[in-house]
């Protein structure tokens, strides 16, 4: 491992201790960091509402979420509406709607993580209802116990079709699912052999999909003895999952992946640093909620090295902007824009999911990010409810520097950002252009607010979560 990337010589004993809030460790930037990573971002109102809550308490409430029966009923109806439209864009929009309105945003954020982890694409499954069913499964277990999720996903109809398990029969074993449960879902490369894959494939035989439901057909199951990861027996699908969960590599693999997703994708922590999390995760029967609460509440999570050290995925980018601009915005259009930025929900590029990180950014996707922000900030169409003009002082007394600071603060929590003066100068030029006739100071500031939001969104920092 590169020493420079080791997480600043962390002491494994203290790395995951809860953050002790002091004026230097707990401020608006840290608060926004938590909301950005765990909830796709926050509106100004949400930031104000949570600014007086101690971090440990806030993290606990984010992990626990909130129940809202009306929201659930609402989403149940909307699911049927989206399914009746029979197009993938509507399903994508339904999910984005949930990310936008859910009373438990971390659950949606985790669902997105698991969708990338158990990457399944409609391109092959070809059934909207099955894709939605898998999405519900991931949501149900998103903050539950990983073992239960792995058991269920193994029999999930969309997954059975996606990795050809429905054609996996005795004598004609298909290795796809066996390979991925080891390599991508449970252990990671280097913790299994080709022989383990062949034997596990036999254990996964006998399952297919009938009338949208998983079905076990004993006549197609290979009931013979198999040796998998050193265990021998007449194993079936559930046994393989159990054996995977018993491997020490399983916890390490998942914790490292969640660390990269929620703490830092540029720093590679040593095994000893992660070990307290891995051990706690294992003894708690892979309790994801515990792991997330520990990770998100730790001082490591709030360290400067963790902040703005992840490239926002397209979904994080659009949802973050909508939240910061006090949306909502149209989910169908947002889903389309996400796809143009490289993240088509329900259609990951391969079983490995999205490459993520720096791969999200290239000349084409940066252009789409800019276009997205222009759409969201122009006060009409997609941006009719995310108009930055509504966020500025109603009396128009901000001035160019004030406006630049307002949006640098709102979107980057850095009113003193080095780009402030340059943005203010550009706003000054724009002000001279728009000032005319009966335009009141507040209406000019409103128009400039749109420009200010676009300029801040074009900064490199804004691409980082």
């Amino acid at each position: 491992m590169n020493d420079e990337k080791t997480l600043f010589g962390l002491d494994p004993e203290t790395a995951w201790q809860p953050l002790f809030p002091t004026p230097s460790t707990w401020n608006a930037a840290k608060l926004a960091h938590l909301h950005r990573r765990a909830e796709f971002g926050a509106s100004r109102a949400r930031l104000e509402e949570t600014s007086f809550v101690p971090p440990a308490e806030l993290v606990a409430s984010i992990v626990e979420g909130r129940e809202d029966r009306r929201y659930e009923e609402d989403v149940d109806r909307l699911r049927e509406t989206a399914l009746a439209r029979s197009d993938i864009r509507s399903l994508q929009a339904l999910w984005i709607y949930r990310m936008m309105h859910s009373p438990h945003p971390l659950r949606e954020r985790m669902t997105l993580f698991w969708h990338d982890h158990f990457a399944t694409s409609h391109a092959k499954v070809g059934n909207y209802r099955l894709m939605q069913r898998q999405n519900e499964l991931l949501r149900r277990h998103a903050l539950g116990h990983f073992g239960e999720m792995l058991q269920e996903i193994t029999r999930d109809p969309a997954m059975l079709i996606w990795l050809d398990s429905h054609t996996n029969r005795v004598g004609h074993a298909n290795e796809n699912y066996a390979r991925e449960i080891f390599e991508l879902f449970g252990l990671g490369v280097g913790h299994y052999t080709e022989a383990d894959i062949l034997e596990a494939a036999r254990a996964f035989t006998g399952w297919d999909v009938h009338d949208g439901e998983p079905r076990f057909q004993p006549q197609f199951f290979d009931a013979g003895e198999k040796t998998i990861l050193g265990r021998t027996g007449p194993w079936g699908a559930g046994d393989v999952v159990r054996i995977v969960l018993e491997q020490p590599a399983c916890g390490r693999f998942l914790v490292r992946k969640l660390f990269a997703e929620f703490v830092s994708e540029t720093i590679e922590p040593g095994e000893d640093v992660l070990e307290p999390l891995v051990e706690g995760f294992r003894v708690r029967n892979y309790d994801i909620a515990w792991l997330m609460q520990t990770m998100l509440g730790s001082w490591t999570f709030f360290s400067d090295e963790a902040m703005r050290h992840r490239v926002k995925s397209p979904v994080e980018f659009v949802l973050g902007a909508v939240r910061e601009l006090d949306g909502p915005a149209g989910p169908l259009r947002l889903a389309e824009l996400c796809e143009r930025m490289g993240q088509s929900l329900f259609r990951p590029p391969s079983v490995k999911g999205w490459d993520g990180g720096g791969n999200w950014l290239n000349s084409r996707t940066m252009l789409v990010r800019q276009q997205t922000m222009i759409e969201l900030t122009r006060g009409r169409g997609l941006g009719q409810r995310t108009d930055p003009a509504r966020l500025v002082s109603s009396r128009g007394e901000s001035g160019d520097v004030g406006l630049a600071e307002t949006f640098l603060d709102l979107m980057l929590q850095r009113p003193d950002h080095p780009a402030r003066d340059r943005i203010a100068a550009l706003l000054g030029e724009e002000r001279r252009r728009v000032q005319r006739g009966f335009a009141s100071a507040s209406s000019v500031d409103g128009e400039l607010a749109r420009t200010a939001a676009q300029l801040v969104a074009a900064l490199p920092d804004y691409q980082l979560a």
Partner: protein, 562 residues
Amino acid sequence: MFVPFRPLFPATFALLVVSTTTAVSAEPEPWLVVDVHRPARLLRHELVTSVRSALAESPDFRDRQRTPELERVRGLLEFVENALGVEWESGLDRLVRRARLQGFDPDRPMANVLVVESDSRETQVELLNALAKRIPPLGPLAEQVGSGAAASRPVRIGPLLVAVDGARILVSGDESLLKRVGSETLPAANDADLVLSARLNVDRLRDRIEAEEAFAFPHRDPGAVATVGGWLARIRNGRELHVELRSRERGLEVSASLISERTGDVPRIGGFFAPADSAQPTPLRPTGTIFAASWYRDYARLWADRDELLEAEVVERMEERDGEVRDELKVLGLNRLPSEVVGMLGTDYHVVVMRGESPDYDVHRDERLPMAAVAISLRDEQAFRETFEPVFKVVGLILAGEQKMLVKQAPHGDAVITTARYRDDRGSRESGNALRYHFAPSWTVARGHVVVGSTRRSVATVLEEIERKRSTNVEVHGNREAAASENGFVSFREAAVALQEARPLLVGRAQLEEGISSRRADTELRVARTILEALGSATIRTSTDDTTINVTLVVGHTDATK
């Protein structure tokens, strides 16, 4: 919010926005005259106040009031309030008792003269003093008027000249016109309800090069001739357009008259508008009608006159195509030229959109959508039936085969309605658009009409309405609406009910397309319904004679019964 907001921008102020300056040569007559009489009355009209109070309940509308565009309007209204010390509606009433805009050259905006008369000279002084603070060049004008001068010398502000004469303020880009118009007295309204009247010299407008294309008659486009040719011919030959807006007790009325030359560049199109002595279509408005339109058109006559209306080459091509289409349609069992089929149709056309009913399908749909039907009168019902019966059979077979629809016939009185419906077997919800389960295309030939509708019920309802008109001695072909060529009717109240019936669909759409929560979508829907209920209904009627087309639109609670 589903209803796009359009700010009510006082016309008088909008007219102040003029762009360039050029000299003008004196013209004897203006090409455009717009007179406004106490426009603030509109703001206090029951219809407008109801809509405004409903809009105030809309979260989207409230949000939009915080946008720069509306801040600008608010800034203007606040200016009026501050200048006159009253709320802006009263301020506007005081500022604009009467106004007249005259245009003397359509190519030169500076050749316009705007005269606004306020309720008193004192109001004018107050306004000018306030304006002078924002627009310093107005200072001398304010001083002159403030010192008691009855009339001021014009003051130049950018390209415009502004002068004050008593309670009147005059604005123009041309000094000679300003002087000339300044000496004229503003006319009084013809009647107490009149808010706006406008007179446009179409001749002058038409002679402009840019207008040539817009006014051109589509001699090479048979589709355009058939759909809007009559209108275009009248406009092409038009001389003058009059528009009036009246604020009636229960609604608003807009009327427009286009006066044409008896002869002009373009031939009158026979068969497009109903001749005064011919049968007129009476509107069909069954219970639950949201929208109904009836119009006269004699396509057989249009076809017969094709040599006069279209270029020879186009006519030749159409005639060739006429034969080709006949050959193509033989596969459907129709061995007639399309022109012969057109000859079977009568002159009355009706479209009716009415509130729907629960879909007649096993697949459950939460929403209820409106249904629609089209009815066309027939010259010879028996001949039409004999010609088209084999066609309908073939169409039924195609629908049953390719579209996997069930086609069945059922009697309705002495008529037979054929209906094609989708199969709604288990699982069909997952494949294809579930909205189709609101539709079951149906048709019949009966009561002298061919009727095609979106559902069986829509066809049956229209048939019953035709029968009802007959039995109550109202001839559907009868000359009930003297000289009315076209009738349109919209019931906003029924539309409000239909909106509520379509709620699940609309709320779902608002969630997926706008991203708003169902709670907010419900609020916006309620606001939209309130606005529709406030609007009541609208009727539009077009009548023609030898020289004039009159169009009258009435919106409001003026049509309590059918």
